[in-house]
Symmetry: C2
Subunit: 408 residues, 2 copies
DNA sequence: TGTAATATGTCAAATGTTTTAACAAATTCC
DNA sequence: GGAATTTGTTAAAACATTTGACATATTACA
């Protein structure tokens, strides 16, 4: 039961029904391809005639193409299979991190083209925009005509204002009020540029993925543990943004209000217990707050090193990881109690050590979840090789074509 | 950008556009009444012709009625004002609490008819159902023909399974797996019975209210502080339910994982710091866990008494309230960081002492919110005399007529 | 091999919308 | 009393789904 917002509604026009059904058909082709018109008619519980009309429009627009004929054992006319058409146009995905910036070109339905390239992230906004523009141009020249690029999706580790395209605050990049969208949009005239926060992008990457693990769910939480803790929440197939686009900051929900100081200034945030920095500090037996800010990006000893040591039976490393695991679980329990998601995705370096920590995480979750069902909430690891941020950047560009139209 | 769920979508039919626009028109009449067809055409940015058609359908169905002609100073034909039609049918709202059960009859658009009645809550499910049925019948006989009752909305302080209508766990009532819906539905054949958790119902009461404070918002959180802490979250005009209908349990997010034991078994839950019981325990200088369970419902000294003492300058009472205020604010900061709502509503006895605690609550919120904007998130008190739970029960019955149709 | 059975896909008419344009109705201004 | 203005209605056009018939293509089987 959804309330209609009397200040912000969308009337249905003569074409709304068609628009809705078109998007449903597209979505079904995307998740069920290869699929015939008759299959779609059954899935959509409508007539084949209607499907023919919808599909002919999609084919005319170049979004769908007919492929080979199906081979089924039954008798009757063979179906012509339908496929999404990658349409000879491409998308660019960019993942900006403090250490490096990653870039990937995909076709219009999000399949990777060529290699993922990376280059150092310039901290000066002007220089950053220059170098990013150069890299995008280079990639487009290599893998496509820049003329048919449908968009550039950029993922930023920070809070941003989506309307103005301004990065309000990106701690690891030391950016405040940096206007990225405008200069990039000017640089790439006619190509849509999308910006998104990295936690939210990771969540997007999961709901828009069409991979092995069955169909992507619509109510999920993505927790990304790295220098900080990023969280993206999806409810009803839509990212939760909140009134100021800052929703999802579970990283600063406290485990103990008198706990260690967090980079945000408050004490005892979840992030202060489970970030890579927190784990490392625990290993070195020092207080997180002791680390000087400059040391953040020139980490000589990384969490990956710590995990390696844990694997070679360094008991201090194991202890540090185990503590992190327990705190991770305790915080996840809060998220699960609060949002009751169908699944929780976890990304970040800690996933490389999942076999070492999983049972502790699960125990801690059960310790604080309110019902046994909540304690069993499925958790899925997203390893770094799946590039969730980059996949999220892809979704920014390619997903709108499949999204539900706004109605009522 | 909402993803279409390929396993659970709704096709648009020939009549979908009409259905959507009908509901928009209804919503606008509800929030702007009295309003003319021409006004609606302007609000909806469509032609008067279209409005005429939509409205004539609504009038035929008895949902809308024409009223007096408008008196405007400008020249031109006078508009005929449209009103929601209360339609000679009624709704019953029930608020079940451990101490008492409250009951109210309203017209079909949620306006109170007669008085609010209350009666002792029977703890035995069988007896409860019997006594509730009697009271509903009595009220209906007094205020309406039972023949034209459109529904009964019942609010329960506990976790429930909406599909089966079973109360899974209501601690204060000491209920487990009590099937309420089935016997009541049998008792009131043909009348729809709705069940809802009290935290979620309170949130519903606010988004569906049409009162002085401008139009109701669509992204809000309702925090109800009483024996326990109930939270209802609304995102995009829709209650957040989660995979098991248990979303919203921010009451059990910890302030300190080593804090006082909570009724849920875990330590340091927000609820263990701010529930009425916690405040009282603080006043009496004892540990919350010391209180025996039996004492829960036979509280000889209530939070209202404590507030009264604080008002007559009992310094211990003031201190206890001030502590609660601070913890309340610290927990609210977590909710605000996580959900970034447009507004937070607070209900419960503590609202009676709001002038004593407001500034401390606000300070604590600012202490832990991530941005200054979040620190300024508006907070509105909902005093007991507004009966938020009962209003939520009303919305369960009367709101579906105004809700957006499910599309895509 | 030919015919029946069956499944896919298309076409055209029927039906229910919004949209457009014209018009009737009612009121004020001058 | 007529022009101007606003409200509300009507009828035709445009555009969608829906329905039923039909062409197309393939297999099963006598």
């Amino acid at each position: 039961m959804r309330k209609i917002d009397p200040n912000n509604f969308t009337m249905a026009t003569r074409g709304t029904s068609r628009e809705v059904n078109r998007q449903i058909a597209l979505t079904l082709i995307r998740t069920h391809q290869p699929v015939s018109r008759a299959d779609l008619a059954r899935l959509m519980e409508t007539s084949r005639a209607n499907v023919t009309l919808l599909i002919s429009e999609l084919i005319n627009e170049g979004l769908v193409r007919e492929g080979a004929q199906g081979n089924q054992k039954l008798r009757g006319r063979k179906p012509t299979f339908l496929y999404l058409n990658s349409q000879n146009s491409v998308a660019v995905a960019v993942d900006v991190r403090a250490s490096k910036t990653f870039l990937m070109v995909t076709d219009s339905i999000g399949r990777q083209i060529g290699d993922i390239v990376s280059f150092p992230t310039k901290f000066d906004p002007q220089e950053f925009i220059k170098s990013l523009s150069d890299q995008i141009r280079k990639a487009l020249n290599q893998y496509a005509d820049s003329s048919n690029c449908i968009g550039v999706g950029i993922v930023i580790p920070g809070v941003l204002d989506r309307k103005s395209g301004v990065v309000l605050h990106a701690p690891t990049l030391r950016w405040r009020d940096v206007n990225l969208l405008e200069p990039l949009q000017r640089e790439f005239d006619g190509i849509e540029v999308y910006l998104e926060n990295s936690g939210k992008a990771c969540a997007l990457s999961q709901i828009w993925s069409v991979r092995g693990d069955g169909t992507a769910l619509s109510d999920i939480v993505f927790v990304s543990v790295s220098d900080g803790v990023g969280v993206g929440i999806v409810i009803n197939g839509e990212i939760v943004r909140g009134a100021h686009n800052t929703a999802g900051e579970f990283g600063h929900v406290p485990l103990s209000i008198d706990g260690p100081q967090c980079s945000c200034g408050a004490n005892g945030c979840w992030e202060a217990y489970i970030s890579n920095l927190a784990t490392l500090s625990r290993y070195f037996g020092r207080n997180v707050a002791d680390r000087k800010p400059q040391a953040l990006d020139i980490a000589e000893f990384t969490i990956d090193d710590l995990i390696a040591r844990a694997r070679s039976n360094d008991s201090k490393a194991i202890t540090a990881l185990h503590s992190t695991a327990r705190y991770l679980g305790l915080g996840l329990a809060s998220i699960i109690n609060a949002m009751d998601p169908s699944r929780v995705y976890i990304g970040g370096e800690i996933t490389e050590a999942w076999d070492l920590v999983e049972s502790l995480v699960r125990d801690a979750i059960k310790e604080r979840t309110l019902t046994s069902e909540l304690g069993e909430t499925p958790i899925r690891i997203v390893p770094a090789v799946e590039y969730p941020r980059l996949r999220g950047a892809v979704a920014l560009v390619t997903a709108p074509a499949f999204a539900a139209p706004k109605v009522a």
